[in-house]
Symmetry: C3
Subunit: 179 residues, 3 copies
């Protein structure tokens, strides 16, 4: 058992996994705001259409002005490497959008995932990864959707191996799966 | 810690969340039948087609004659207000169908959700809400399906904030998430 | 409480439930390899197409040569009856493919499920059933997909009633739901 004080001194890492509107981002924001660290929001999403623009703007207005926002749709690993300092809490929102972006840009998915998995244990700052669990419905008919959910599942496994705590969210509530 | 006897004297409220055929309704019925209270089944579903008619009839025959059934596809909040008395256990089955009905009737979703969230802490009877978690698959291509799962997710969060116990069901088994 | 030694002497049975790429098969393989028993892989999948052939070959190469593999797409109950001996660990991968095969072959689903549920308590060997949870997305538009997820959900409930331990997997991590 470590005390609260020790916990906040240690570099931690979190994976917050859940369905649509399960309260993942809010939960991660709460973790961040309770940390007492400098708050960095690392957005992987791009506003492709009006629906997405609206979602991004809702998220932004919920977070206060104490948040620094950086958008990085592809080079997440490099952005993390630069932001990860002991005084920073970096909220990555979200991994599934990063997977989508990598697929659309035809990046080498396995290489990117391996680079991220290798980086996590060495990170100096505190990081929370938010991601959508998308593998609990019927097998999609669309091949690209099947590939996407395979990639997302493998990424969740590799991130979960490295982070210190993993939570599964539903209805705004968290179930601890690791840590 | 409260004793069993105290628990049964207190007005409780439950959210039973789970996937298709996860045993949600059976679990809620068991909670109701163990309560010793008068049993009220508040059905939000309407028999639109033969598949639905069959599902409703299977559910009905499983419940015994000690259940009073009321169908209310839209005005759930008002129906709850009238039924909620200390001697009653009200099983609402299910919230996701209510969301569908509100969308089809073009009701103001946010207003309805706010009314429900406000009502729950004041309810005098015991209530169990059954609902489908629908947000853990691939993002649906259909805009109405996306809106539906957003509404359902927000509703689950707001109900989960107010009820005393939340369970996540799979394979007929329950995981306690709150309470 | 039983000791470790007693646990390994008792015939156990497991249901490992989870989404796509949630680490279900790996987890079941680990349980099997830690058992010290003879390892039998009972595959319900048939290589219908190149995607499936590849998935099967990846799974096969991950398992070592100490595994005996048997393919049985339909007569799972009979295959289990023959393999279930005290010295054997049988990994059934997976139940959802078995459901698909039964549907395509137009077998009587309820009869098959009842035969399986009846068999489990009498099995002499150790068995782990791997299966996909598919009921946590939007209701599928396709009637066959809806029937499939209903069947899968009912099967999970009936297997979960009989096995000694049930796990829900996400991101390669397990949540114990029973046992």
């Amino acid at each position: 058992m470590t005390s609260e004080a020790e916990n906040t001194r240690m570099a931690k890492s979190f994976l917050i996994l859940g369905g649509a509107r399960s309260g993942k981002s809010s939960y991660a924001e709460k973790l961040a705001e309770q940390s007492g660290l400098k708050l960095h929001y690392l957005a992987t999403g791009r506003a492709w259409d009006s629906e997405m623009t609206e979602r991004i703007s809702i998220h932004k207005s919920r977070r206060g002005p104490q948040w620094q926002t950086l958008e990085e749709p592809l080079d997440l690993v490099e952005a993390l490497r630069q932001l990860a300092k002991p005084e920073n809490f970096i909220l990555v929102d979200c991994l599934t959008l990063w997977v989508t972006n990598l697929m659309l840009a035809e990046r080498d998915i396995e290489t990117e995932f391996a680079k991220l998995e290798q980086l996590i244990p060495d990170l100096q700052g505190t990081v929370a990864f938010v991601s959508n669990e998308v593998g609990l419905g019927i097998v999609p008919e669309n091949k690209m959707a099947r590939d996407f959910r395979d990639h997302a599942g493998f990424l969740h496994q590799s991130v979960a191996r490295q982070v210190s705590e993993v939570y599964f969210m539903a209805a705004g509530l968290s179930l601890k799966m690791k840590g």
